[in-house]
């Protein structure tokens, strides 16, 4: 309390400076008057009274010291001085602020990615005891689990204090009487909500008693879905909806922060994972995720050890499915393996831009301070101390840094909003949020202040190294210890050049990698095609016949829909590439050794598919309505496959078989079509592809598509209605045009690539600016010398070379260092991203060329200016 009062009392001068000063004057005046009167009354002189009082100013100073807080006072004074002197040089301030804002905003945005994707903790209480269980197997690190393994684990007493199994199905959900809508769900076992420990916003959540078949007709809504579909109506609790045609009751709504975006993506609803005993013991398929709660007091390592033992036992019990497989237990929400490396790399690239910005700012500061040598010299000779001068220059830097931080964060905020929009993908709700969180803000501030300290300290120290005598006697530049200043500037420019080259090579590496995967239709037409997905639930669509009937009726409905030309039903519409690939053997030829069979991509389609997408039928026939179960099994292969399997022979009538199919069905080739591709740059015409009639294969999940001239909105209704007429409980989802689908993929890629380009270009620009500044400054300092040279008859070329030689010397050191750094960086990157080129001489060469060109330009401009100088003007500048 006492301390607070004292502090308050002492802070008053800052708030009421004038009043307090006036009061002190008044008090001393009164004192003196009274003393004078008293002395006069005693017959003494007035001067005596004043003498007795002592020095008025000293008293005042002593009083002020007691009254104020000296260090705050002197800092405030520094700030005032700094602001005054900055106001006189708007150009310097503007350049500094732009540089800082650029560096800080790039880093803040990069850091907000890092924060959102890696640092932000999941909103679950007791997170430190939650783990995720992965299955590891040769060729698959951190994979999903099989139901058999997980249910066995679940029964194991004493392993965990809770284990939740998570599946990711989709359902058709309908409010009775309205068309169904496709929803994404988490199907979770009963422990799920208990171990995550997040209570519902409304209603209740389900527990273990509801994850048994027959008791599972309940769902919990996510906040987003509740908002989107039910407009936040609390009356939704207890309502009965139709899910896949059967009634389910809504029992709860989860709160908004209960998002799984980072863990499993965001989904619409939660539903009990009720698995029949047949499915629950299945081990030869792994698709489930598992979250477990460690027992109190147990460490991750202990759990991992126990799980390793269990994996060994499972491998012995089920050699067919579980041999060579292990378990990996990792903290929940921490991506295992190197998935995060990309983000750290981007952060590193952004950081190097900040370093370049630092070097630039230091250079700017040096240039400015060299012009202030005279001022410093005078101040030193008037009794100021060197630390005091340094402190004042640091104050200036810090003020600029703070302003830069504010600007940078403001820019980053805007950029983040833009990026969020660009990364949004149709059909997924706000998948990436990049808020400026407290952590991000702290980072930005730290980056800006760190930059301020870095670019403020050294130049300040050097500039203050002035001999007062020299400063007053000589005018102009070159008074400070110009050698140390020049050395520092050279070091700065060299490191800038080296950093820039590494940065451009690193950004170029990613850029190339991204641009190689440029999705697009190759060899087929994606224009005017609308496509959507349909998923038939296994009840009532539990047989191939029922699915087949659905295809037939839907195909007829689509064909009869006005505005729809050439309807298609296929397993996966080609914007997504091929989903299945099988090792194949051919009839009448010796089969290659197991594992060496040619692997071919496969799609299942309806008749008219090739025609609708402009894929050329080269030989034989298209599929026909008569290619059904019971009729001979047929296939259409592409050119490449035909040539590979039957070189120089007619493929029509030959038979092929997928080695890994359970039935070992032999398919007769009835046609040959041209090859299709999905990635403009990568496809080189060597993919083996074949097609089967969808009616002979079946499947509950498929795409529908149609070539149309209608607007997407209109066709959406028509497609929905067509499905509704076939079965009102079914819905289409992910409706998009083929071009739009490609564009979505491309947009995310493009945004990412442009981000990298921005990083590279910013670095390049900044270091060009830095080099330009340094060379220009040298020219200014050498003006008299150059003037004499010109007067003595030096030619244009000679002068240009004299100036450019200095830039060339810096480049000769900086660029080899940068090249070495770039080479190392690309090697490290290449080893983290398998499949990318190990070294890329062309890219390194072009990066070097780019940096060299910019270096040349940055030196050429000041050199030309120097060479065009009027010798008389130059000499007069002395």
């Amino acid at each position: 309390m006492n301390v607070l009062r004292t502090l308050w009392f002492r802070l008053q001068p800052f708030l009421r400076r004038r009043k307090i000063e006036a009061e002190l004057n008044e008090e001393i005046r009164t004192h003196l008057e009274m003393a004078e009167e008293a002395h006069a009354a005693a017959g003494l002189s007035r001067e005596e009274a004043r003498r007795e009082f002592g020095g008025v100013d000293q008293v005042k100073e002593a009083y002020r010291d007691e009254r104020g807080v000296p260090w705050i006072e002197s800092i405030l004074q520094d700030v005032r001085t700094a602001v005054r002197s900055l106001r006189r040089i708007p150009g310097f301030v503007a350049l500094t602020l732009v540089t800082l804002a650029l560096g800080v905003s790039l880093n803040t945005t990069a850091f907000s990615f890092l924060d959102a994707l890696l640092l932000e903790p999941l909103p679950f209480p007791g997170l430190n005891r939650l783990v995720q269980i992965y299955r590891t197997a040769p060729g698959q690190l951190f994979g999903p689990n099989s139901p058999g393994d997980l249910f066995e684990l679940k029964e194991q007493k004493g392993m965990f204090s809770g284990l939740a199994i998570v599946d990711f199905p989709t359902y058709s959900l309908a409010v009775p009487g309205q068309p169904a809508e496709r929803v994404s769900a988490f199907a979770v076992s009963g422990d799920f909500f208990r171990i995550l420990g997040v209570p519902p916003l409304l209603g209740r959540v389900f527990g273990p008693e509801e994850d048994a078949v027959g008791h599972d007709a309940v769902i919990v809504l996510s906040y987003e879905y509740w908002r989107r579909r039910f407009a936040l109506d609390p009356g939704v609790i207890g309502r009965t909806l139709r899910m896949n045609g059967t009634p389910v009751t809504v029992i709860g709504v989860m709160p908004r922060p209960f998002r799984f975006t980072r863990l499993f993506g965001s989904r619409d609803i939660w539903k009990p994972l009720a698995m029949g005993s047949k499915l629950a013991t299945k081990r030869d398929g792994r698709w489930l995720s598992a979250i477990a709660q460690l027992k109190a007091g147990e460490s991750l390592a202990e759990a991992q050890a126990k799980m390793t033992a269990i994996a060994a036992r499972m491998a012995k019990d089920n050699p067919k499915s579980d041999a060579n497989s292990g378990f990996y237990v990792g903290p929940l929400g921490k991506e295992p393996g190197g998935g995060s490396i990309m983000i750290w790399m981007i952060m590193g690239l952004a950081f190097s831009v900040l370093l370049i910005a630092c070097a630039n700012l230091a250079n700017l500061q040096l240039a400015r301070n060299s012009g202030r040598s005279r001022e410093f010299g005078i101040r030193l000779s008037l009794g100021s101390t060197r630390p005091r001068l340094v402190r004042q220059m640091l104050t200036e830097s810090l003020i600029l840094s703070l302003a830069g931080a504010v600007l940078g964060v403001a820019c980053a905020w805007g950029v983040n909003r833009y990026l969020e929009a660009r990364f949004a993908i149709v059909g997924e709700d706000s998948s990436l949020m990049l808020p400026i969180s407290g952590r991000v803000l702290a980072f930005a501030l730290l980056a800006a202040l760190g930059t301020g300290a870095l670019f403020g300290t050294l130049p300040a120290w050097i500039a203050s190294n002035v001999s007062p005598n020299a400063a007053i006697r000589i005018s102009g530049a070159g008074i400070t210890s110009s050698r140390s200043r020049h050395r520092l500037r050279s070091v700065l420019v060299v490191s800038e050049l080296a950093l820039t080259l590494s940065l451009i090579a690193g950004a170029g590496f990613f850029f190339q990698g991204i641009m190689r995967y440029k999705p697009g239709a190759v060899g087929w037409r994606s224009d005017h095609v609308v496509t959507a997905r349909v998923a038939l639930p296994s009840s009532p669509y539990n047989s191939a016949d029922k699915c087949l009937a659905f295809y037939d009726r839907l195909y007829a409905e689509l064909a009869a829909t006005p505005g729809v030309e050439a309807p298609i039903i296929c397993d996966l519409f080609p914007t997504g590439g091929f989903y299945y690939s099988h090792p194949m053997i051919t009839e009448g030829k010796e089969a290659p050794p197991s594992g060496k069979e040619p692997v071919c991509d496969m799609n299942t389609v309806t008749p008219g598919f090739f025609h609708a997408l402009g894929i050329r039928l080269l030989r034989g026939r298209d599929f026909a309505d008569s290619d059904r179960p019971g009729a001979p099994m047929v296939a259409i292969v592409n050119e490449t496959m035909a040539k590979k399997l039957w070189p120089n022979q007619d493929p029509i009538g030959r038979r092929i078989c997928a080695v890994d199919s359970e039935l070992r069905e032999w398919l007769e080739v009835v046609g040959v079509v041209s090859e299709i591709g999905f990635q403009a740059e990568v496809n080189t015409g060597r993919a083996m592809q074949y097609y089967r009639p969808i009616r002979q294969v079946g499947g509950n999940y498929f795409s529908i598509a149609a070539r149309t001239t209608l607007a997407p909105e209109a066709i959406k209704n028509l497609l929905s209605k067509a499905v509704f007429r076939v079965d009102p409980d079914q819905a289409i989802y992910e409706l998009t045009t083929a071009d739009q689908a490609f564009e979505d993929y491309n947009r995310a890629n493009h945004t990412f690539a442009s981000g990298l380009a921005v990083l590279g270009v910013s670095g390049l620009l900044l270091s060009a600016l830095g080099l330009y500044g340094v060379i220009s400054n040298l020219v200014v300092e050498r003006t008299p010398e150059i003037g004499i040279r010109i007067a003595m008859g030096a030619s244009f070329t000679q002068v240009v070379w004299a100036v450019m030689r200095q830039g060339a010397r810096l480049a000769a050191v900086g660029i080899p260092i940068g090249l070495f750094g770039a080479w190392g960086l690309v090697r490290i990157l290449a080893s983290s991203f398998p499949g990318s080129a190990k070294t890329n001489p062309l890219m390194l060469a072009s990066s070097t060329a780019l940096v060299l060109a910019v270096t040349f330009l940055a030196c050429w401009l000041p050199a030309r200016r120097a060479a065009r100088m009027e010798p008389m003007t130059a000499l007069r500048a002395e």
Binding site: R10, T30, H31, V59, A62, Y63, E66, R67
Partner: protein
């Protein structure tokens, strides 16, 4: 002129508190009173008295208020606060302990 002595470090606060005990007084009066109290032995520098007054006001021991003097002159009057009265007792006790200890030590030495 009597010989002027330097005040012992830390005793100025005690003396000012003691001087204010007999009632509110302005700066000049305070300087006179301090001199009287010491029978003109101590010369209190204004450069020490005013900062001390300021410090004690910050600590809440004394309070300064503008008021009008007998001679109808505006002046800042300082008075003891309850906290200051307590502090005076504390400082006195401290001083008495110190001086009696020093006395004892001097007697023991002689």
């Amino acid at each position: 002129m009597p010989e002027k002595s330097e005040l012992l470090q830390g005793t100025l606060d005690l003396l000012i508190l003691q001087a204010l005990q007999s009632g509110p007084i302005h700066g000049f009066g305070l300087s006179l009173r301090l001199r009287e109290m010491s029978r003109d032995v101590f010369q209190v520098e204004m450069g020490s008295m005013y900062p001390a007054v300021c410090r004690m006001e910050a600590r809440g021991w004394i309070r300064g208020e503008w008021s009008v003097s007998e001679a109808n002159r505006k002046a800042r009057y300082y008075s003891l606060t309850p906290l200051g009265r307590r502090q005076l007792a504390v400082e006195r006790a401290k001083w008495e302990r110190l001086s009696s200890t020093i006395n004892l030590m001097l007697q023991a030495a002689s």
